[in-house]
Symmetry: C2
Subunit: 356 residues, 2 copies
């Protein structure tokens, strides 16, 4: 049985399934059922396409299938790259019933999803994430977009996919460093709202690092369940959805100061989560427990050397200080996150100053 689990993201008429399993690309799930019209465009990149494009194509039956290969990497997550997808759609006369299929990691999914959001004011798209990070996080929830020289994901749209198809077999070719980066978001899900899942991860981290299929499928399923529930509750991040950004204020600052791509997103978030846990003022034993799991996952536990001023600027402190404090995702305790501005400013200074 290739399908391990099938979940639903409940968003009224924008609800959609997440299907998790193995051998899905090769026909374990009939992808064509999610393609409304006769035409689709597979958006992938130069690294992933040679590995999985043919397998995906073969699974699309009688559909008319085009494909476009984007350059690889965060540096290409730009309006210009998004425009290359729009150009292709326009040049081939794609209509409103065309479906975009995003085959790749988070960058591909975000760009392709944003193109789908904008072409003719919104066409269907399906996510086929091939990295752990995309499978447990970015492919679910409808956040699409590209970077701006002045900030990550500064330009984008909320546009929910019609389906998310997660074939865990694709992780076989994923470099270890990227697997680990994905585990950061998995750990995050446990840390913000499921201490039992967190404990399961403590028990199963070695199995995950060794890519044991059952463990991976379980970790992906639980992550998607948590993310789907949070998104269903607050699609456009008016409130509670922001807890998914645990560790991200610090993490984005690291990415920004080091140049995107130097630190992988998950690596920056890993170090950022420990900083955010410290800022939360929870028991030191819980901070250490989080630190230990992150270390077990082979992820960085300390940020790079960044001056206190650079931290503050990168976190937008210069601007937002007008209205008071930064909004952080903090922990009441491990497994219970909330959005708060009531941290101790002095503690923040200590945390960003510790390595400056």
């Amino acid at each position: 049985m290739p399908v391990h689990a099938s979940l639903t993201v409940n968003l009224d008429d924008r609800s959609y399934p997440i299907i998790i399993g193995s051998e899905l690309l090769g026909g374990g799930h009939d992808l064509a059922t999610f393609i409304r019209g006769p035409d689709c465009l597979i958006v992938s990149n130069v690294r992933v396409a040679p590995l999985y494009l043919d397998r995906l194509r073969a699974n699309l039956g009688a559909k008319s299938v085009g494909s476009i290969e984007l350059p690889d990497g965060e540096a290409h997550k730009s309006i210009a790259t998004m425009q290359s997808i729009l150009d292709r759609l326009a040049e081939t006369g794609a209509g409103r019933d065309t479906t975009i299929i995003a085959l790749g990691g988070g960058v591909v999914g975000d760009i392709a999803g944003f193109a789908a959001a904008c072409y003719m004011r919104g066409i269907d798209f399906v996510q086929v994430p091939t990295t752990l990070l995309a499978q447990v996080d970015s492919s679910v929830g409808g956040k699409t977009g590209v970077n701006h020289p002045r900030g990550k994901n500064l330009v984008g749209a909320f546009h929910q996919p019609k389906a998310v198809l997660i074939d865990t077999d694709t992780l076989a070719t994923l470099p270890d460093r990227e697997l680990k980066a994905g585990l950061a978001e998995v750990i995050k899900h446990g840390a913000i709202c499921d201490i039992e899942f967190f404990a399961w991860l403590e028990e199963n981290m070695q199995a995950l690092l060794q890519k044991e299929p059952a463990a991976l499928a379980q970790a992906i399923q639980r992550s998607c369940e948590i993310k789907a529930a949070v998104v269903a509750d607050d699609e456009r991040e008016a409130g509670r959805r922001a807890i998914l950004n645990f560790g991200h204020t610090f993490g984005h600052a690291i990415e920004r100061c080091e140049g995107y791509g130097e630190w992988l997103h998950g690596e920056a978030v890993a170090a950022g989560m420990i900083m955010a846990a410290r800022l939360s003022g929870i028991a030191e034993a819980d901070v250490q427990r989080l630190r230990a799991l992150i270390e077990q996952a082979g992820l960085p536990t300390s940020p790079p050397a960044i001056s206190a001023d650079a931290w503050m600027e990168a976190m937008g402190m210069d601007k937002k200080v007008k209205q008071g404090k930064l909004r952080f995702v903090l922990l009441r305790e491990l497994g219970d996150a909330h959005i708060d501005t009531s941290y101790e400013s002095q503690r923040l200074q200590q945390i960003v100053g510790a390595r400056s």
Copy 2:
């Protein structure tokens, strides 16, 4: 009393007011009430800004107000122009609570609205339309976007404004040709669903052409009422909203074949409406009645010389013929439009061939 009428576009939590009157920009309505945060960016163009920017600014009280002037004209309705707004927002560190105010005609409103839709995945925007076309049509309903070399409005988003403020005084500076172009959409509203309004227009066309304030306010109000009702019923144009495109399949083809800007949008729609009425197969007397009103408004009643092949290609016939016929907005009778594919193909050939 400067406020002539205040309507609501009913869209649940995206509902918003349309306020119509005179002296509104100068303080007749406190615009600041629609600006959630402390900051706003007025997006205008080089033609409108010198006329109304200062007046608008003065009406924004304690808000921190930036402004950007786009180049004028349909040729600049591009992703590049939209990006210049995003760049400004990013460079000034604009946050999620920044509001964009679109001050200008349809091009300004469409670009500014699309920038608002994309910046940080959606910030507030307010429409302050200064052309009749924008006041009776494009500022209401949340369609935003830009052109692509391959097609008009091919890239965009549905993003509803927080308010539409229509100051009829701005029409004083509107060139006659643009006033008439706006009247095409006013006539359209009568033709598709309100024969009484159509009759009122037959009585009052001279007053409108002479810019009599009461007549203009009345025509704008009724147009906005009709558009608001249609949009509330079908926000994302899944069905009935498409009746607002009456005359537009032919009209867009004219714009496309002649080069955008040669024929104003309203002029192309005017000629297109007569063609669509003919295609509908309604009584010849009703076609002539529509033709007479369009002529009275000083609008073109015949399309330019375009070959039958060019018509078909510009209307997308080459592509869509696969799935059968084009979807046209047709009239059951004057004042009652519906979406239909059951026109006579031979009649379409005659209509586009008549001038080839």
